[in-house]
């Protein structure tokens, strides 16, 4: 099996890795780079726990052929809070008890970030739609929806 060089940006930093033929982005992130924020759930594109942003759009890392990321910008939940301050979404998840076991949380956060980046003041329906591909077996979704709406509302109150 041949190895292919791939260069991309990960959470603002340059990464250069060798990937196997057919290797998915999730595997490269977790085993190749050591970014364990995106989780391995189903490997079938069904659960959403591996959601990352590529060039600002949400993608399932398990279904993304790693070599297609050449030259692109990848963001994972690891990059949300580069310093000691939590990202507003992380803060809202904490304050609204939106994480129980926490397994779905990195994917939920990235799905929510994709939404708020595009639509800073979403409706409840928008939020439900945005996390429609992410499964949570603990919370019943309500605390997650409330956290995302609260993060949007807090961002709306912050001075620009």
């Amino acid at each position: 099996m041949s190895k292919k060089p791939v260069q991309f940006r990960l959470n603002g930093g340059d990464k250069a890795v060798f990937v196997d033929d057919g290797q998915n982005l999730l595997d490269v992130l977790r085993r190749g780079i050591g970014d364990f924020a995106p989780k391995y759930g189903c490997g079938q594109g069904t659960c959403g726990v591996c959601t990352v942003l590529i060039d600002g759009e949400p993608y399932l890392a398990c279904l993304t052929l790693a070599e297609t990321c050449e030259g692109r910008e990848v963001q994972t939940a690891s990059g949300l809070a580069p310093g000691p301050e939590l990202h507003p979404l992380q803060k809202a998840f904490m304050e609204h008890f939106a994480a129980q076991c926490g397994f779905c949380t990195p994917g939920m956060l990235m799905a929510a970030k994709a939404l708020l980046d595009r639509n800073p003041q979403p409706s409840r329906e928008d939020v439900v739609e945005a996390i429609g591909g992410n499964i949570c077996r603990c919370t019943g979704y309500e605390p997650i929806i409330n956290a995302i709406l609260a993060a949007a509302s807090a961002a709306g109150r912050r001075p620009a």
Binding site: D21, G22, N24, Q44, G45, P58, Y59, V128, G133
Partner: protein
């Protein structure tokens, strides 16, 4: 079994390679093939892909619309001129699936997936299939009928006529899980009217046969009728003619046959779910 990924700059090279290697598959957005690779032991040894920008072309000027096979559901949702397809594209997966899932891939998606194709069938779509040297235009229905017989080439573009009137294209996906569930079945209807009478109806079903199908008996029964309870009665009576649904984990064939006329009625009369 490990796979080999071969990337080509041009569609022609990709199509030639696909045609010359028996165990090769074409990669669109990856939502189908990557699942097989992740499972291990996929039924193919080579993955062919192309970076040819032609696959991303969208032309909406005029009556005839051209959509590149590499256009994703998310991209369709961003094009205002394709608003008649928005309700359909929105039913495909969640946002992260829609970023990757392509129009071309949808044509090869086995049920319960492939909802967009049902709408394209109701729009009487044709597709251009690139065989390596040149492309030929064939009806989408023909490609679907041949789907199990190996790769016909690489799907380059899908061509449709703009719906005859605003609201002429209707679509309903029936699923057990809200907001995002896979299809028990799906129905698309193109219903142009003249003086309140249907002229040239096209009805398509998803998950009511091995591939999406047209429903010619329903189309004939609607011709010249009005969209009211009396006008659609005969269409409902023949709703499951030509269907060959299967039992699967989503629903039984019996259930699909039972509920199809109910959902067809709701679609035709514009009733709420």
């Amino acid at each position: 079994m490990p796979v080999t990924v071969r990337t080509f700059a041009s569609l022609g090279e990709a199509a030639s390679t696909l045609g010359s290697e028996r165990e090769a598959r074409f990669l669109g957005g990856g939502t189908l093939l990557m699942r097989a690779i992740n499972e291990g032991n996929p039924p193919f040894r080579t993955v062919v892909r192309t970076t040819d920008p032609r696959l991303k072309e969208i032309r909406t000027a005029g009556q005839r619309i051209v959509i590149g096979a590499g256009v994703t559901m998310a991209e369709i949702l961003r094009i205002r001129e394709l608003d008649f397809l928005h309700p359909v594209a929105r039913t495909v997966g969640g946002p992260a699936v829609r970023s990757a899932a392509t129009v071309g891939g949808n044509i090869f998606a086995e049920k319960p997936y492939g909802d967009l194709v049902v709408a394209l069938l109701a729009l009487d779509a044709t597709v251009s299939v690139h065989g390596g040297y040149s492309a030929r235009e064939v009806p989408l229905a023909e490609v679907l009928a041949q789907r199990g017989n190996g790769a016909p080439g690489v799907i380059e573009q899908v061509m449709i006529e703009r719906p005859a009137q605003q609201g002429a294209l209707r679509f309903r996906k029936v699923s057990r899980v809200r907001p995002k569930g896979v299809s028990v079945l799906s129905i698309a209807a193109h219903l142009p009217t003249s003086s309140g009478r249907i002229q040239g109806a096209r009805i398509a079903y998803g998950a009511m046969a091995p591939t999406p199908i047209r429903a010619p008996a329903v189309e004939r029964a609607l011709e010249g009728r009005s969209l009211d309870r009396e006008g659609i009665a005969q269409a409902l009576a023949v709703a499951v003619d030509d269907c060959a649904p299967a039992d699967d984990a989503i629903a039984s064939a019996w259930y699909r046959r039972e509920v199809l006329p109910v959902h067809l009625r709701r679609l035709l009369l514009g009733e709420a779910r």
